[in-house]
Symmetry: C2
């Protein structure tokens, strides 16, 4: 099989007829499959069911500090939970605040705090004429959603193999004091799966932004989410920024949503003492403390960073074959046709697929018509605007292996059909 | 024993010497007692320990809607949790959103949303020259804290026996469109324990504020928190405001923090469909959903409103004797001396004590020196400014009965000593 672009109109037309028939067959199956959201599968959630037994009616409910986990208080989180979350994301316990079940909620609140009260005493963003964030693309739609909600102007920055285009990042932040932040998923990024190189992390740590209240939003969502034995280890941004004299530049976020339960995990914020104090100003008025019983559950179940690593190996054993099944299908069905490229992640939750320019929306629509829901095309770009209409995020974790096989088949079929249409349209125009 | 004000200087001086000696004895005991915060006691928390067994590793984790409670999603809360919380606070399930563990957090977020995005599309409060809230006094310090954090001007409104002074409330809100809200704890209020009469609730429902985005912040914190068999039943503000054509005027809040666990309960927001949609705009960007496993635990443990009522009777059995012990001590030690007045609540978490004017701070300081921590004097007023320096909030629920006896003794001793000092100072000035 040759690359589609090298086929004649006749060959393409004949191939299309064949593919159309297979597509019709797929459609007739009445599938209802979903590769849209990065959700853990039931089998993954089952791994953490024993956690629910670690706190029961016979349990001692006191934490290390002597506090009764059932009652009000302990704003920063239990000492042992701060240590656990700090060990996961690479921060000292005293630099960690443990929140409720959602790191997205922390990110939203941190932006909201900057909006209403400013960052560490700087001018509140609501009073500024313009607030901008850099958004490495493709990226995480919910990061972009927060910006959109607050009316923050988003500037896309291209992703390279080793992280965002740092030449551009440095140039932009040093010349425009309206740029207040950048969204980063530094390890096994959403959706590309790439991890930032030491050089990229070092350049982040050394940034000299024009805005004093510029912060790097370092969403360490996949910090221990390796697919293979060989782990990517990121340079420690908190240490690196301290060494570079930019101690207060980084807000770090992480959660156990994809370690224990998507809906009932722990989320944490880690940053310099000054940043932690600034966020605690808000927390002091906002809550008397987050759910400490769930913190206790997590500490008793996961125990320590070694416990986390062992637990994550079980996740990897479940989802690695799923990633590989999708990648195998992409490889066997699309590689020679040369109608798309894709990432081969070593961790995280996503495969990023780049279709021929102008094809992503049509592919997602076509897949949906055959009962396979993909993340909306464009979702990985600010304002849902992928200028190339090329990127599609594939989330292989939730479906069962059988569903995934079916869904992948439908997907590659749609890619082929839409690509042929595009090539044919170019030939005849 | 006569009223102190009727005693001679000699009698007062002699009495004082005696009291000083008893105070010194108390101090020598090295007490460390706390009547400051409205926290459930360990015995109360023990009542809900069986809840921890309702969800375990063998449990079915699907909710009524078929959702896996362990995974992401279900922004509004589980259907059965919305029903339970709605039944508790008197709202239809579809008007209820279930959040995390803190109703304070919801209130903060609702104000924050108004600040950054406005109420239901009205001008965001951050762009207004002036934003004011009415604050019935004495009231809840953390309500006032939210206002202070956002720089909202607080206007105190006196509390009568049956609720806030509604003549004043009506006059103020109808003439000043900068007044955007009023904080209400309508049942067993914090700290007075009074409940709003039907007339007061009706007048709230019928308010005609100058500001379109004026909201009544109806903090139903003690809605099922009766101390006695005879329950206070409040007029339904959501129904009443709908009947009065002011459907969108009310934000209602409640939580199970003082039903199950102070630190690991459920909190809920209830309001009109329009208000719920407006808050969901924010939630859509802020989180993928709150902790549904904890919602499941609550529903399985409390079951329904009858289950809640039975459970609350157990709480009452524990805390009613504590309230009565404090009230008995106040009565026996202070009634004849006429150096203070206090409320006799039928529910809730607090007794409100009014000392002779100018004495509250000195009493709290003196109690602290003898090892008894009270809520800071002034805390029940905006800006911590009690113009009479008279009100002290007593929280009898947390200490053990023995501790409470000791703490009450110290407290009345301090009231007597400070009152005598004041009376003597007046005589000699």
């Amino acid at each position: 099989m040759a690359a589609y672009k090298d086929l004649s109109v006749e060959e393409l037309t004949s191939l299309k007829a064949d593919l159309e028939q297979r597509y019709a067959e797929c459609k007739a199956r009445g599938l209802s499959l979903n590769m849209a959201r990065g959700k853990p599968s039931p089998a993954q959630l089952d791994l953490s069911m024993p956690m629910l037994d670690t706190v029961n009616s016979a349990s001692v409910m006191k934490a290390e500090g002597g506090d009764d986990c059932r009652n009000y208080g302990v704003l920063e989180g239990l000492p042992e939970a701060r240590k656990l979350m700090g060990d996961i994301c690479g921060a000292a316990p005293e630099n960690v605040l443990v929140f409720g079940n959602s790191s997205l909620n922390i990110m939203f609140d941190v932006v909201s705090h900057a909006w209403t009260h400013g960052v560490c005493g700087e001018e509140p963003w609501c009073y500024l004429d313009s607030v901008k964030f850099l958004c490495p693309v493709p990226g995480y739609d919910r990061h972009f959603g927060i910006c959109e909600h607050f009316g923050i102007e988003m500037i896309p920055v291209p992703m390279n193999e080793d992280g965002p285009d740092m030449d551009l990042v440095e140039e932009l932040v040093s010349n425009d004091d309206a740029i207040k932040g950048i969204w980063c998923v530094p390890k096994y990024a959403n959706p590309t799966g790439i991890s930032y190189s030491d050089e990229v992390v070092s350049r982040f740590a050394a940034l000299k932004p024009a805005a004093e209240d510029f912060r790097i939003f370092w969403d360490n969502a996949y910090v221990v989410h390796h697919l293979y034995e060989e782990h990517v280890e990121l340079l420690d941004i908190l240490q690196a920024s301290e060494a570079a004299g930019n101690l207060d530049r980084v807000y770090m976020f992480c959660s156990t949503s994809k370690i224990t339960f998507g809906g009932a995990g722990l989320a944490a914020f880690a940053a310099s003492a000054k940043n932690v104090e600034d966020i605690k100003v808000r927390m002091n008025f906002q809550t008397i403390g987050h759910d400490k019983i769930n913190q206790l559950r997590h500490v008793r179940f996961l125990k320590d960073i070694d416990g986390v690593r062992q637990h994550m190996e079980k996740h990897a054993a479940i989802i690695r074959p799923k990633f590989e099944a999708v990648l195998d299908t992409l490889e066997s069905e699309l590689a020679e046709a040369k109608v798309g490229s894709w990432t081969k992640p070593r961790g995280g939750y996503f495969i990023s697929f780049d279709a021929l320019p102008g094809c992503a929306k049509a592919i997602v629509t076509k897949a949906k018509e055959a009962g396979v829901v993909m993340t909306g095309a464009g979702a990985t770009y600010p304002y849902k605007n992928d200028p190339q209409d090329s990127n599609i995020r594939i989330a292989p974790t939730f479906p069962s292996p059988e569903e995934l096989t079916q869904a992948s088949e439908v997907f590659v079929l749609c890619v082929k059909l839409v690509s042929i249409d595009k090539i044919l349209a170019e030939r005849t125009s």
